[in-house]
Each structure stands twice: as structure tokens, then as C-alpha cells.
């Protein structure tokens, strides 16, 4: 069994074992088994770090076996510089989420833990799949555990949120299914994504394919104006669900643009690039402003996620190495930072059971250790140099200025808005005198919460101070991708 298969199937196997054996009576055993599963799943991804070769854009750790012969569907896995980090990121966030749910979840613990373990395996599968149907199966299958996570352990309006999440994202991906089958026919019976990259396609076909893919990936990212599901879902989802959703799931959409839309329909991607840039800028500027007026902390972070993901898509569609690498770095950084933001909100919510900014004030007085972490993550969210949040945004802005000064300038305003809404929230929640009795009774974070936040803090700082290992992995693959996108695929 290859390394990537191990990375995918280890958490799923642990999840199935938990589902089969776990009972609410043996909750301790269930939690420890889940933690062991998450840790083992993370450890099996580490050999990838050693074995990965930075100097080639080719797929690595490739596994290929026939899966459905009749449709020539293969179990075809591999990672390149674009997908590499997301495998590790997913496995890492999974460990954090298991720790985060430790005492908080009391009902059906085995199902909760199993859902996250299975979900993480499926998401790693999305990043590794090099076969269209394999990709689609993993991509869609992630909906089932997430639907259950939101619906079973979510907030008061969880049912609305669960349905909105499921149907909204399903609607987008159904058109992608049609596009995949069309490509299968057009390529004379192949679902191989890499061979689709080389397939010549007429202009109008490329446009249709581009928008079919756009329907799925833009909803998932989410890009303005199809972002409306995200705030509703974040608000109702349990903390762990929000963290995984923001940290990993949104990246599936952005990743799809790089793996499908741009290389398969490069002419359409260039033709419609302007539209994508405009939508991204609206997300960055307008949604950033929307975030500023939110009363609910989770909603605020959700809108800030949309704005940050706007940076990612902006970086992709300015078609230069800085932009694309910057977008990728921003995806990883946002994985750490948004995960940390949602987990911080979860820490407060577990104690006070309110997400309203107005229910807090002066938390720093009663929870000093926690406030220190929260400050770090807030700074990272507004892109302070030295934190992970800075690197990607800076690269994208630099790339955008190269592409067109005014686009760069508009994108840069996001740094101001980002600082404004994040710091304002920080001020209202953490600073000042103790706001009310609830805040007075708060106890500071325990060892478990400290561990979870500290792991994320280390990641945020490490990535901010030494981004080189991250960009080194991407450089060759990004250059190759851009070279490919620059060439026309129109039939001669």
C-alpha cells in the first residue's frame, strides 16, 4: 500500500472501527481511540515530507490500479507541489479537531469522532485523486459526514444550516459531473485528469466546461456572490465542524480551480480571468466591509474567510508565479488561522454559550493565557508580518501590482479592512473592564485547550517566519502550471 493510500485509508479505517465498536458508555476509550487514530493518520503522512522531490513538477508517490474497468476509471493517486501541503494540513487539523471535541461532545461521541476521521480521509483523497471519478467520489462523499456533523451536534438552527450546506454544494457539483462525463467522451474514454490537461478543446467547449467547473468550485470556495451559505453554516456548525470547514473544505474548491479549470480550459480561463478577478475583488473589499458590521463572532470570522479566500482566487487568476504561489500559501495559512479563530470562539462558547460580541468584554482579565493566544491569531488574521497570514497576502498583492497597479491597490485595502474588523472584535471581546458576570466567572484554558491552541500558534508563527519550505515545494509545480496555462489548447 502506498503512502497516499495509507494517508487516506488510515483515518477512514479508524472511523469505521469507532462506528462499529464505540458506545457512549465507554466514552473515555472512544476518545483515546479517536486521538490515536488521528495521530497515527498524521504520522503516516510525515514520510511524504522526506520523500518529496522539490525539483520536479511531475506527480509523486503515484499509485495506479484499475478500479472500474468498464469506464476505464482508475484508482490513481499522486501529489505535486500544488497538492502536497494540503495532505499534511488536513491530517494536522484533524488531530486538533479531535482534541477540540474532547470533553465538549458528550452525546454519540463515537459517531462524532468517526465523522471527523472519515471526513479527513475523504478530503485527503480529494487532494490526491488524479482520476476524474475518483476525485468526484471523494469530493461528494465529504458532504455526508459534514451534513451529519452540522445536523447532529449543531446549534439551534442546525437543520436549516445542514440542508443549505448539502443542497447548495450539491447543486454546484452536479454540473461538474456532467463536465467530467463530457471530458470522458471527448477524450475517447479516459477519466485521467492529467491527460485531460493535454486535450485540445474548442473555444466554446472550454467556456462551457470552465463554467461547469466554476459552479462547483466557486460555491465551495466560496466566491462572491455564491458565498451566502457559508455564514449560515458556520454559525450553526459545532466548533470542530466550523474549523474543518474553514480550514480544509473551502480549499477543496480553490484546489479544483488549479487542478481542473485552469489547466483543462486555459483559453477560457484567460478569457474569463477578468470576471474572476472582479468577483475576487468584490469578495475582498465588499465582504470585508460586511464582516465589519457583524454582531456574531462566528459570522464575522465566516465573512473574513470569504474575504481571505477572495485573495486566493485573485492570486490564481492574475496568472503569475507570485500570485499563484501566494494564493496557495494563503490557503495553507488560512487553514491554520481560520481553524484557530473558530477554535478560540469555541473555547469562549463552551463557557458562556454565546457567540454575540456584546456578551463579552474584558476577557483578558479573567483568561490571560487564552487572550494571548487569541491576540496572536487575531494578528495573523489581519496579516501582521511574522505570522502566517502575512506571507500569502503580501505575495498576492505583489503579484497583483505587477499585473495591474490598481488591482493591487484595491487588494491591499483588504489589509486595512482585515485589521479593522479583527482588531475591533478583539477590542470589544477581550479588552477593557470585565463586561458582565459571565465574564467574571470565566476560568482560563485548561491543559487540553492550551495544547490545541499552542500547536496552532507554533504553526502560525513557523509559517510566518520561515515560509521558504512551503514555497520551495510549490515553485516548480506552479511554474509548470503557468507555462501550461499560457499555451492555447484550441485545436489547430
Amino acid at each position: 500500500m502506498g503512502l497516499l493510500s495509507l494517508a487516506i485509508w488510515t483515518p477512514i479505517a479508524f472511523g469505521v472501527i469507532l462506528l462499529a465498536l464505540g458506545r457512549d458508555e465507554q466514552v473515555r476509550a472512544v476518545r483515546w481511540l479517536a486521538l490515536i487514530g488521528a495521530l497515527v493518520s498524521f504520522l503516516v503522512t510525515l514520510p511524504l515530507l522526506q520523500g518529496f522531490d522539490n525539483s520536479t513538477a511531475a506527480m509523486q508517490f503515484v499509485e495506479k490500479a484499475s478500479w472500474i474497468e468498464r469506464f476505464n476509471v482508475n484508482y490513481h493517486l499522486g501529489v505535486d507541489g500544488i497538492s502536497f501541503w494540503f495532505v499534511l494540513l488536513t491530517a494536522f487539523i484533524n488531530v486538533i479537531v479531535v482534541i477540540a471535541g474532547w470533553e465538549v461532545i458528550e452525546r454519540k461521541v463515537n459517531q462524532y469522532m468517526a465523522a471527523f476521521l472519515i471526513l479527513s480521509g475523504l478530503m485527503i483523497g480529494v487532494f490526491c485523486a488524479l482520476d476524474g471519478i475518483l476525485f468526484y467520489v471523494f469530493f461528494e462523499a465529504t458532504l455526508i459526514p459534514m451534513y451529519l456533523i452540522i445536523g447532529i451536534w449543531g446549534g439551534p438552527n442546525k437543520i436549516y444550516a445542514a440542508f443549505k450546506f448539502f443542497l447548495y454544494t450539491l447543486m454546484g457539483s452536479l454540473l461538474t459531473l456532467i463536465a467530467l462525463i463530457y471530458l470522458y467522451t471527448a477524450s475517447n474514454g479516459s477519466f485521467d485528469i492529467l491527460s485531460w490537461h493535454q486535450l485540445p478543446l474548442a473555444g466554446h467547449v472550454q467556456t462551457l466546461l470552465f463554467f461547469a467547473f466554476f459552479a462547483a468550485f466557486a460555491v465551495k470556495v466560496p466566491m462572491w456572490p455564491v458565498h451566502t451559505w457559508l455564514p449560515d453554516v458556520h454559525v450553526e456548525a459545532p466548533t470542530g465542524g466550523s474549523a474543518v470547514l474553514a480550514a480544509i473544505m473551502l480549499k477543496l474548491g480553490a484546489y479544483g480551480f488549479l487542478r481542473f479549470s485552469m489547466p483543462i480550459a486555459p483559453d477560457a480561463a484567460r478569457e474569463w480571468g477578468t470576471l474572476m478577478i472582479v468577483l475576487s475583488l468584490v469578495a475582498v473589499v465588499y465582504v470585508g466591509l460586511v464582516a465589519m458590521v457583524q454582531q456574531d463572532m462566528k459570522k464575522l470570522v465566516a465573512y473574513s474567510s470569504v474575504a481571505h479566500m477572495g485573495f486566493v482566487t485573485l492570486g490564481f487568476f492574475i496568472f503569475n508565479p507570485l500570485g499563484v504561489s501566494g494564493g496557495l500559501v494563503q490557503m495553507i495559512a488560512h487553514g491554520f488561522v481560520s481553524g484557530a479563530m473558530f477554535l478560540s470562539i469555541g473555547v469562549l462558547y463552551d463557557r458562556v454559550h454565546s457567540r454575540e460580541i456584546a456578551s463579552y468584554g474584558g476577557v483578558v482579565n479573567t483568561m490571560p493565557k487564552f487572550a494571548a493566544f487569541a491576540l496572536l491569531f487575531a494578528m495573523a488574521n489581519c496579516g501582521l508580518p511574522g505570522t502566517a497570514g502575512f506571507v500569502g497576502e503580501w505575495m498576492v498583492i505583489l503579484g497583483a501590482v505587477k499585473f495591474n497597479f490598481w488591482i493591487g491597490a484595491l487588494a491591499a485595502t483588504a489589509l486595512i479592512f482585515g485589521a479593522a474588523y479583527t482588531l475591533w472584535m478583539f477590542k470589544r471581546v477581550y479588552l477593557g473592564p470585565v463586561g458582565n458576570d459571565h465574564v467574571r466567572e470565566l476560568t482560563d484554558i485548561n491543559a487540553r485547550e492550551f495544547l490545541m491552541l499552542a500547536l496552532l500558534a507554533v504553526a502560525v508563527l513557523y509559517m510566518g517566519l520561515f515560509p521558504k519550505p512551503f514555497t520551495d515545494v510549490m515553485d516548480v509545480s506552479v511554474a509548470e502550471l503557468l507555462k501550461h496555462v499560457a499555451l492555447s489548447k484550441l485545436p489547430q
Partner: protein, 495 residues
Amino acid sequence: MMDPTSWMTIYPEIVLLVMACVIALVDLTVTSPRRTATHVLTLLTLAGVAWLNASYALADQTQYGWGHLVVSDPLGHWLKCFAAVAVLVTLVYARPYAADRDMLRGGELFSLSLFALLGMSFMISGQNFIVIYLGLELLTLSSYALVALRRDHAVATEAAMKYFVLGAMASGFLLYGMSMLYGATGSLQLDEVLQAIASGQIKHQVLVFGLVFIVAGLAFKIGAVPFHMWIPDVYQGAPTAATLLIGGAPKLAAFAIMVRLLVEGLMPLAVDWQQMLSFLAIASLLIGNLAAIAQTNLKRMLAFSTIAQMGFVLLGFVAGVINGQTTLAANAYSSAMFYVVGYVLTTLASFGIIMLLARQGFESEEISDLAGLNQRSPLYAGVMSVCLFSLAGIPPMVGFYAKLAVLQSLIASGQGFYIGLAIYAVFMSLIGAFYYLRVVKVMYFDEPVTATTVSAPADVRVVLSVNGVLVLVLGIVPGALMALCAQAVKSMLAL
């Protein structure tokens, strides 16, 4: 005519007929109210018939018997094998349910099921209008009786009445269409009808006139809109055991007679029947999915969902012949076959759960009766949600690959109309996802009304778990079943 090969072609049917009579007689001596001896004997018979058919199918030979009245080919034997297994599984689920409702008295449930299967077998392997029609009548007459098995139950009796009246009309349509074609071509044999039509000597209008009635009759039997009215009433009114007996295995037989009549007999008229089936499919997908949303009764909802699912099966038939070319035919019809097999498998498990949850004096057929099932029994909630996600076409369940295969057959045609149909179909399945998800919601997100745990006899528990796991496993490794369907359809078309 009495050569040994002829006997060989219907050997499984002979076994079935003999055993059906034996079981009816043996049951006279059985006194236990649970009818264990009859039950076991029936299951053994079904397993034997399934095994016989599978070994025939694996031999991969095509032989005609009785002067072309019946055929023994892999397609037919696989379908008969699946149908026997489906009836077997249905009876395993049905026994505790039927025992609670005094439906085992007299053992008719068992012998009627076997006669119904015998009817299906002749529908599946018939090569002659009369044989196919007699098989169909044997199936439907047994089904009428099965629906009416609870004589003292007003709703069931009403359902049986409706089923009988509408079913008789459908049979009339079919017979009328067959007689038109007989008059035009001078033969009841499918192969001779095919040759006569292909010769081009016969007036097109006459043939199409007969075809309309055949298609209408078939549409009645599979429950395609606008011939669907009986489905919701009968599904809801019949005792669940009977619902599953008419909603499970007979779909395989319905698929088979569509193949036999339309493909083997009337292939030259494909342009005409493809249009008719397209219309039926469009209407079925629309009405089935929209009406299912409004239902609060689970059996009725599943009935409308069946209508929508049959719309997808019909889509598998419409893209076989493109511009007179039959190169895509095997691809298209095998996708429809895979769809039907996957659908029957899923239906068995979902109705199995409904029967399992029913108790003495409680039918458990409202969607709200499933509330909080996950807290009462995670296993059965899991099986049911796997089925529902499969029906909704979410990977990695078998239903996704079925939809994938059908959509692929449409898009492979390269025709704008069919690509449009594919897009229409996926949006209809988006609507479908809503009402399937709603049941999952009730099971997982709502609080249970009763705290009673769900208990089931060991055989039901094992079969139901295996059935649910198969829906998932056939989704993770669908290759073998797909190849089987493709192979069976190819060898049928090669004639």
C-alpha cells in the same frame, strides 16, 4: 420440439413450478402459526433456483428452446438469479411482519411469491408475445392476491382493487399492441417480427400504432408518468411485505420485457420508441420528484421516488440508437440494467427497515415514525441512510454509479437533446436529494418519540446488515457488477 436442449432452457422454471406446487401441498400439513417448515423450504427453493440460474449464466451460452418460445441467455439468467435472490430476501424480511398480521395462515404468501417469480422468469426469458404476456399475467395475478392477503384490512383491499382494475387495463393495452403487431407482421415470434419490420415492407403507421399501445402498457407496469397513478396508492395501501414483493423483484422483470419487446423485437422502430420513452422519462422525473416532496407517509414517498427512479431507467433506453447506428446500444442498455439492479438492492433494504420497525398493530410507515432512529439503533439508521444516500445518487453508494452510467450513455450520444436531458436529470436529482435528506434528518437530528430499542430476529438482522453493506460496497467496488451487466447485454445484442 421435445429435444433435451428445450428442457434444459427452462430447467430452473420447472424446478420452481414443481416446488411451488409441493410447497402449497406441504403447507397443508404444517400447523405452526409461524410456518417455519414452509418458510425454510421456500428459501431453499429460491436459493436453489438462484444458484441454478447463476450457473447457467456463467456458462455464457445462448440457446433457444421450444421452437423459439423461450431463450436461455446470460442476460435472462442473471436477471432471474437476481429476481430469485430479491424474493428470497423479501421473504426473510417479511416473515416476522406477516406473522404479526396473521398473513401466514394457509401459507399463500410463500406459494404466491413462488408463482410470481415463475411469472417473472417467463417474462424475462420469453421470445414470443404470448409467452411474455402469460408470464406477465401470472406475475400480476399473484401480486393482486398478495396485496389482498389481509382480507379484513380495508385499505389493503382497496389497494388490491385499484391495482387489479388498473393492472387489467394495462394488460389490455399491452395485448392490444401485441395483436396490432401480429396483424401487421404475421408473427408472434420476436425474431420474426424483427425481420418483418426490418424488411421495410410493412406500413410504418400501423407499426407505430401498435407500438404506442405496447409502450403504454409497459409504462403502466413500470409506473412511468402519466401511467403512474396506481403506484402511490398500492405502495401505501398494501401490507409492506406485499409492497416489497411488487416493488422489488418485478422491476427486474419489467426491465427484461422492455429489453425483449423493444430491443429484441422492435429495434427498427427505435427512433419512435426512444421519443416516447424520452417523454415518459421527462415527465416521471418531474412528477415523481416534485410529488415526493409533499409526502408525509414514507411508503408513499418511496412510491413517488420509485417513479422518479424509473425515469432514470428509461433514460438508459433512449440513447441506444443514434442516427440509425447501434454502436452505443450495449453501453446504454447495460447502464439501465445496472440501474435497475442497484435500485432493487436499495429498495429491498429500505422496505426491510420499514417492516423491521413495524410492530403488532403499528405500521411505522409515517416519516415521523423514524424520528431519532439513530439513538434507538445506530445500525439500522446507518443502513437506512446508506439506502437513502444511494437513492439520492451520492457517492460512494451504488446509486451514484447507476446515475453515472445512465448520464454517460446520454452524453456519449453527442446529441444536444440528450446532453440537455442529462442536465435536466441531474437537476431533478438535486430536488430528489432534498426529500431523501429529510428522512435522514428525521432519523439523525430529531429526538425519538419512543425509547424502545429495535429488536429483530437474527436472520433478519444478518440479511439486512449484509444488504446495507452491499449498497455501500457495490459503490466502492462497482466494477464487477458493471462488467457483468455489460457482458450480459452485449451477448444479448450480438444475436
